[in-house]
Symmetry: C2
Subunit: 463 residues, 2 copies
Amino acid sequence: PGPTLERFKTERFLFLSFPPCLFFCSCFDISFVIPVLILFCSCHKLQESLLSSASGYSNYRGILNWCVVMLILSNARLFLENLIKYGILVDPIQVISLFLKDPYSWPALCLIICKCLALLFYLWLQGTFGERLGTFLHLINLSTILCLPVATVLFVSSMTPVGAVFALAVYTILFLKLYSYKDVNRWCRDIRQARARTLARSLSFQRFNGSAVQTQVSYPGNLTHRDMYYFIFAPTLCYELNFPRSPRIRKRFLLRRLFEMVFLMQLLVGLIQQWMVPTIQNSMKPFQDMDFSRMIERLLKLAVPNHLIWLIFFYWFFHSSMNFVAELMQFGDREFYRDWWNSETVTYFWANWNIPVHKWCLRHFYKPMLKRGVSKRVAQAAVFLVSAFFHEYLVSVPLKMFRLWAFMGMMVQVPLAWFVGQFLRGNYGNAAVWISLIIGQPIAVLMYVHDYYVLHVQGPSAG
Amino acid sequence: PGPTLERFKTERFLFLSFPPCLFFCSCFDISFVIPVLILFCSCHKLQESLLSSASGYSNYRGILNWCVVMLILSNARLFLENLIKYGILVDPIQVISLFLKDPYSWPALCLIICKCLALLFYLWLQGTFGERLGTFLHLINLSTILCLPVATVLFVSSMTPVGAVFALAVYTILFLKLYSYKDVNRWCRDIRQARARTLARSLSFQRFNGSAVQTQVSYPGNLTHRDMYYFIFAPTLCYELNFPRSPRIRKRFLLRRLFEMVFLMQLLVGLIQQWMVPTIQNSMKPFQDMDFSRMIERLLKLAVPNHLIWLIFFYWFFHSSMNFVAELMQFGDREFYRDWWNSETVTYFWANWNIPVHKWCLRHFYKPMLKRGVSKRVAQAAVFLVSAFFHEYLVSVPLKMFRLWAFMGMMVQVPLAWFVGQFLRGNYGNAAVWISLIIGQPIAVLMYVHDYYVLHVQGPSAG
């Protein structure tokens, strides 16, 4: 009876706060208060449903969780279905065979080692000759860097496609780095000449320069092997005389990145073997029969693993690996990507997902073009053109097929960027960027695999 | 040259804003400003990657769009795969056969019509007899409402399961409504008696009551056929003498809800025929072989269409249909659901997804129990028990099998609610609620279908 009395008191208090009840309360016994309370504190009131637009309600926070749960569950099912259908396909030994056809010939590795010789030659170029001759030799060197691996890949039969992609990627990075190195050193020479000319006019300049020298390297003090190799291994494509340096190597950070690198590498290989390869193999028949509804079904089926692998690759390369290298070299600038996942235009995506390349394009290609009076729109298209060339270069040469699918894929970005920028805003623009990523890549992948399959698997067996 | 000069000026301005540049600028010709600018506005600075915890970055707005795009694309693929595999299975004629076995016997419809007679009888009960006899007759009437359809379903062979579910649902709603009707009228009689007793004490009471009468109905003025039938058809289970009324019927709102009702009804039937039925049929074999990994795969495969159908059903019933009826009857209280999608505990979900039933339970079951001194925890469990009984009643009787899966499903909510409330907070709690919804329902569905299949399809063929 104790707590019941307590409850009565509380309910009477609530009841009393409702004005007409005050009157009632004075008339009735306490035993009638409760039913009256229930009657008068009416259980219906005039209001709209939450989902009606008139209600003004907009808190759908839970929907995000719903999306995440649905995605995890449906992908868990796909994974289980895959396991039941194919068993375990992951095979670490097979990975090695992708790099090596003949265990006694290591063409990709040889290529990478021989680039070091090119570098020694390159440093010798800087400042030894006059500007004209130097530029000429520089161009010869750069074109060698681009052409040598192509020749090797095309004529050495023991080169596997995966090994070739790896070697070509390293050579492309080297090309971009040396281009930047040469440009910056030329700017330094320009400044030195200008300084020599104006030295007579102001002697105070020397003092300013002298104070800066204490901590900062200046031209030609930067032309050392140490400085050059630091730049070659640093996770950036733009040369600077004085890179920002982080104060110390954080060991826990380094170990975490190393763990991520190793783990995600395994995950990537596993996902490709278990999920991508069977899906692609099953896609060959519909593509040859030109059965459109099945082609679209296969395309969408491939889109999910392809996109997940791309996302994991992004994190593995741009976050884990680059941060690992940067931490090891005490390289200070860790901005390897910006928030491309929020991008509302295609241009924003391309300008923010790969910052090293974007910075290089801006500094050594886009801005010099603008300076020569080229319009912004043309310069932008030219950047996409060069990017398309390198994409094609990295895919066509290792596969030994020239189909221009990757080139087209990059060039389609220009009208797509215009369309999205013109017609879609906010979340719709963001969704359009995501769709172009999720759908665009597997189209290109399927095109190349189909052509490769026709040439290398079906061609010989038919012939 | 015009815009180029403009650009030079802008760049010089930027350059001048960098203090040491001021000095340089006085020394050099304008033609050297640009390379110097590029050199000094250094392209690297000390900073962390966005995904490092040290960066403090947390804007992942784009991820929501990613989730939505991925969900739409992967379900589009599932739908396409389904179409390729099974062709078009949607068949509107088949729907009619679910309600009718024998076109000359309409048992479900007859049941629903005969309830009107019970209602006429019911109104006559109110106030005609003394409180004791009235309550006794009331109980007989209510138990008839619950038992009559059960007897009909079990003994009339031409009753289909779908027709039976429909009839039972109508009878259950009627039961809950009449229970509420009787309770409220009894409270009114209690007040009238109390008033009669206190009338001598205060004559001013009559005046207060008189002014209220002008717009509001009071007992026994509410005991009319018109008032009762309004309540029977109104989208609520709790009787009140004076419902809040909306000022007018908004025709556009009404038409939009009607369109939604018709369209979503078609969509529901289509999805069930095209997606649910083949998936369930394919699940029978793994369930009989007790092949666990395939059972889980089937369960997850069923979870997606089942959940989507449940969501569409929710919108169709609680938003479109109820708002349509309410608009037509100018019923003011449109709160048929609250924001259950944000619920972080199981209790919050059950208290907010079905407001008419929740209100009824609170007003006519939970609060009266509390008043009699039952503890909150026990009262809550009792509410779940009654709810479990009605769930089982609506499923077992039409299928003519008593397996208690639905009962168990509801009763499991009690420990689940305790677990989630105790250990999970915020988004984790919300995700747990979603998972229990997405996974829990298809388990129960598969259990019933499996048992029904064993009894009705396999049993006769084996015998």
